[in-house]
Symmetry: C2
Subunit: 263 residues, 2 copies
């Protein structure tokens, strides 16, 4: 039987999502604990990778396993959370059709980037602290160029395994929150390193180093060298992965983790 597992994690201590030799990754920790709890080898496949140090307030993975009839799913979830380290939490688990795929069936992903503008001793690992408030209006004028279908080569990390760099961006903008700012971006797909490059370059608009029009030029140039440096991983959250309604019909995600409903 195939299952979807919904999770949240603090990425600070992990070398990203994807299993790699000689490092600790979220997927590796998850496979190990899930295999322990289910007493069979289990492998998770995620909706997408997150980079080293990047967080998720909502990530989805699928796995195949024989769950014994004696073990109901709320109990599985409870035991998995007891087995997992505190910085990875399982939010929900439910059966899906055998052909359902956490990566290929995802219709949209949403990321947030969190910026603090006041000295805050509580969240240094979950925000980027800025000494000076950036120009939010200019950043939002620039962010408007991202909406629609574009080739995001300028904001991609490496020419590598991607077949193409076209992404359809449904939403991109900065929101004021108490003590800081949150950038939220929603798209059908993201290429590697995209959000951190998009944000790093927007912050240069916020500092007056680039005009909003020049930001549009960077996007249209299709050349990575025109983008600014990537914003630090610590402020970035994967915060929603969407699927066709029939796959996640009865899933209720907890409120209170980072996420704004799209408007």
């Amino acid at each position: 039987m195939r299952y979807f597992l919904h999770l949240a994690y603090d990425g600070t201590q992990y070398h990203g999502w994807q299993i790699q030799p000689n490092t600790v990754t979220v997927q590796q920790e998850l496979d190990r604990r899930l295999s322990q709890v289910l007493r069979q080898p289990v492998y998770c496949l995620g909706s997408g990778r997150t980079d080293s140090g990047v967080h998720a307030s909502h990530q989805v993975a699928h796995f195949d396993a024989e769950v014994p009839e004696s073990l109901d799913l709320p109990t599985l979830l409870y035991r998995l959370n007891r087995a997992l380290p505190q910085d990875i939490r399982a939010l929900a688990v439910h059966p899906v059709p055998a052909a359902a795929h956490a990566r290929f069936d995802a219709t949209a992903r949403t990321y947030q980037y969190h910026v603090r503008l006041v000295p805050d001793p509580f969240a240094p690992a979950h925000t980027l602290y800025l000494d000076r408030a950036p120009d939010v209006e200019a950043m939002n004028e620039a962010a408007a160029f991202l909406v629609g279908e574009h080739d995001f080569t300028s904001f991609s990390k490496v020419k590598g395994s991607e077949k193409h760099y076209r992404c359809h961006c449904y939403e991109a903008g900065w929101h004021r929150v108490p003590g800081g700012l949150v950038f939220q971006i929603r798209a059908n797909r993201f290429v590697r390193g995209m959000v951190r490059l998009v944000v790093g370059t927007l912050l240069d608009v916020g500092r007056g180093k680039l005009t909003p029009a020049q930001y549009g030029d960077v996007l249209r140039s299709l050349q990575r060298v025109h983008a600014s440096g990537a914003a630090a991983a610590q402020g970035l959250f994967l915060c929603r992965v969407e699927y066709p309604a029939e796959l996640v019909a009865n899933v209720t995600l907890p409120v209170g983790l980072p996420y704004f409903a799209s408007t």
Copy 2:
């Protein structure tokens, strides 16, 4: 010249506020860094102690120092924050009359206790996680007994240095926030361990182990044995210290750190 220093700190790594031999405390770290930045021995006196592991989103201390004319106060604040570890942040510094006293002149203190009701990988060190939602209405019915002037012997940690156990409590109640609950209590003074015992016993009301009326009986009994265990330090924040307006006339505290304005 005497100064008031407003701060916030994550108490996780500290054995409380007060200097003690052979441990690391907030006051000790602060004295050391302030002495470094001002190039003279400086000693801070806080509005009150916080226990080991307890946080502060607003704490106030006074110190006496000769600040050279060439060093303006925003620059002092900036340098102090560069010198301090990330988990202690200076929020504001300003001169006060020579007789002003961070402890004796404080007119009210406000504490918050943070409870999470959803699995959350991001704030394990800043909240108490509860598997089951407690009965908020019952807890608030019980908390209403706290408001007014009472002898809080039942909710004090040890018979020790306190001259008396009377505190005037102006406000005490639970608030629903996304993903959890926050208890906020404001009083002229607090005796040692009071908030954690008040909250620990309220949570027993929330679990149905005590009725609200029995909570009132615990308070009136003036006997510590009737209170429940103390709630874990990790959820507790000192979040506002109030002074007569003339002492803090021009101080603006950052928004976004834990605090509800009292209604």
